[in-house]
């Protein structure tokens, strides 16, 4: 019998090793699996490379993980936000390495890892600082930059609803990087707010098929916090 349901976050997170590359879903605060990130803090793995669109908001979730000093490097597209003070301080102190990637390249490099692509050519970034030193090629009269996949040991994503085969649905724009990251990691753990019996999810509406998911764990629903922008005074 296939049963990917973990009893709790710490059970789902067993075996994360030092030096692991960990993808974390989310765009701003939407789709960040905060309970799984807190679990990773508790689990204690160090020397991590984190892949996320941003670099943490406020003092919770990813920002709290950065604060532990266990993240060696972050690969992201938009670290600087109104409330990214934890990252900002670490970066300015030279305590964290940043690989800045245009967001579409980030997403496509993650997809490439999941789809078995060795590398791909894209026009994004051509002639800019972010393509410096990279191989380029003219294809059909247009310049392209060679980009390589981003593989991960672990992906932590937030979904809405799941079943014991690991099939997932999402909620609104909290879907963002979840489905793509789920494909790209050796092991994917999804937090869900609801676990339903096999067959209850409409197969027409499954967004991430269970083949991409290793474990699901139910967490209490809490409203997503605001974050990433300056609140009107």
């Amino acid at each position: 019998m296939i049963d990917k349901i973990a009893a709790c976050v710490s059970e789902a997170l067993q075996g994360v090793t030092d030096g692991a590359t960990v993808m974390i879903g989310g765009f701003g605060t939407a789709g960040i699996p905060n309970e799984l990130v807190e679990g990773l803090i508790g689990q204690g793995a160090r020397d991590l490379t984190i892949v996320n669109n941003n670099a943490g908001n406020g003092d919770h979730g990813l920002a709290a993980l950065l604060k532990t000093g266990r993240v060696r490097k972050i690969i992201c597209s938009f670290p600087r936000q109104a409330d990214s003070h934890v990252f900002d301080a670490l970066y300015r102190a030279g305590k964290i390495e940043l690989e800045l990637v245009p967001q579409g390249n980030l997403s496509e490099r993650i997809r490439a890892a999941g789809a078995g692509i060795g590398a791909f050519f894209t026009p994004t970034g051509y002639g800019t600082e972010l393509a410096k030193g990279k191989e380029t090629r003219d294809i059909g009269g247009r310049p392209y930059v060679l980009e390589y996949p981003i593989h991960a040991d672990l992906a932590l994503i937030k979904a809405e609803c799941g079943d014991r085969w690991g099939n997932l649905t999402y909620r609104k724009a909290a879907r963002n990087f979840g489905p793509t990251m789920a494909m790209a990691a050796r092991r994917t753990i999804a937090s869900v707010h609801e676990i339903v019996p096999l067959g209850a999810l409409d197969p027409e509406n499954v967004v991430t098929p269970g083949i991409f998911v290793s474990k699901i764990v139910k967490v209490e629903r809490v409203a997503t916090r605001a974050g990433g922008f300056r609140q009107a005074a």
Binding site: F27, S77, R80, F87, V101, N105, T124, K172, R175
Partner: protein
């Protein structure tokens, strides 16, 4: 000699006037988001947000905010009937694959031939952040820039060659500014329109570059 500048709202109105019925449009963070408030009545425009939304609607009423439904600036929005959610890779395929008709972006500098600098000032202490700017700049069918023509110190933001780090090369088609609307071409700048009372020669002097009438 004396001429009125377009206010931010008037500038947004000016941009909105050029958006065609049925267009799929991405509005960048900051001033470009104002364009949504000025789309002409009687046309249907589908707004795209890079974080996986087509058919994005206005901000919700106070108290109705849902932070799982936000725009690229992380601010709460709504979804219009007919709208859809999708994951990031599909969203960026829309942006990179030439599926968006128009994107409107802010800028630090634009060159006469359409090079764009809008992601980084290059200052030593500045934390760089690029987001989807490079994808949009080269991926949309048309890239428009919306900005003040001059910096606070009176320097032209339209330049012969960008000194700030580039976002994309030759990608900007039009510049909508508080003083004039300009087209970027391989041959240089071309005038679309300018505010009343601003002489062509004076505009060229402010920009410091020739502008074909």
């Amino acid at each position: 000699m004396s001429y009125p500048r377009r206010t931010k709202e008037q500038l947004a109105q000016r941009v909105a006037r050029d958006i065609h019925d049925g267009a799929c449009v991405n509005l960048g963070i900051g001033m470009p988001t104002l364009v949504a408030n000025h789309l002409p009545d009687g046309i249907e425009v589908i707004l795209h947000s890079e974080n996986g939304i087509l058919g994005m609607g206005p901000a919700p009423a106070p108290g109705q905010e849902d932070y799982d439904l936000i725009n690229a600036g992380k601010q709460p929005v709504t979804l219009l009937p007919g709208g859809a959610f999708f994951h990031h890779t599909d969203s960026f395929a829309m942006m990179r694959g030439g599926h968006l008709d128009i994107c409107v972006l802010g800028a630090f500098q634009v060159s006469a031939t359409g090079d764009l600098a809008n992601w980084h000032t290059g200052e030593k202490d500045a934390i760089p952040a690029v987001g989807g700017a490079m994808d949009l700049a080269v991926g949309a069918k048309q890239t428009w820039v919306m900005m003040d023509l001059l910096t606070k110190n009176g320097q032209s933001k339209v330049v012969s060659r960008c000194t700030y780090p580039l976002t994309g090369i030759g990608c900007v088609k039009r510049i909508y500014s508080d003083l004039a609307t300009l087209e970027c071409t391989a041959q240089g700048l071309k005038l679309v329109d300018k505010v009343d009372g601003l002489a062509h020669a004076e505009l060229e002097q402010l920009v410091g570059l020739p502008i074909a009438p």
